[in-house]
Amino acid sequence: QQQVKQSPQSLIVQKGGISIINCAYENTAFDYFPWYQQFPGKGPALLIAIRPDVSEKKEGRFTISFNKSAKQFSLHIMDSQPGDSATYFCAASMWVGGGNKLTFGTGTQLKVEL
């Protein structure tokens, strides 16, 4: 099963609040889990990524929490700002034939209100 399930589909957070987006996967062959941020009309930008041997990774206001046994991972955006308003995609990847194949979630539209 190659699917990656992402929730919620949309999220509204007040400025300064914490945004939390969750993802779940089924295939235990996935071994790299990136998050991407996408603004309208633009290509996705790599935000932060984690490997399954680590339970948490933090970069600035962005933190990934990873639960290998539950096959779940989440993105936390601390002190959310209006500039964080974008669509966020989780992904899971594995090496196949020399290529890094990414399977994406369906995305979460985040709106940070003043």
Binding site: P34, P44, L46, A49, G98, G99, K101, L102, G105, G107
Partner: protein, 113 residues
């Protein structure tokens, strides 16, 4: 630094017409290259990937094909477009076989009418 280019940025084509989208990467050698399609309000679907010149792997049976005539050039083509081919096409690259990070280009918005 590395830069990825895609053109055209937008394209409107009639059903049954051919398609050619181009992607080029600067500032790196022997990258892995990827084509994705993003339908409106959906996630990204991997279409093709290439680990070297002339080496193409197809992920989804479809009306499209890909070619890699040069090390840093990746082309997405179709002989006859279908309405269902409309979408946002994204090219991505990664550093050969040593890196997991994929970096995306600006995309091409294709509308088939």
């Amino acid at each position: 630094s590395q830069t990825i280019h895609q053109w055209p940025a937008t394209l409107v084509q009639p059903v049954g017409s051919p398609l050619s989208l181009e992607c080029t990467v600067e500032g790196t050698s022997n990258p892995n290259l990827y084509w994705y399609r993003q339908a409106a309000g959906r996630g990204l679907q991997l279409l093709f990937y290439s680990v070297g010149i002339g080496q193409i792997s197809s992920e989804v049976p479809q009306n499209l094909s890909a070619s890699r005539p040069q090390d840093r050039q990746f082309i997405l083509s179709s002989k006859k477009l279908l309405l269902s081919d409309s979408g946002f096409y994204l090219c991505a690259w990664s550093v050969g076989t040593s890196s997991r990070e994929q970096y995306f280009g600006p995309g091409t918005r294709l509308t088939v009418t």
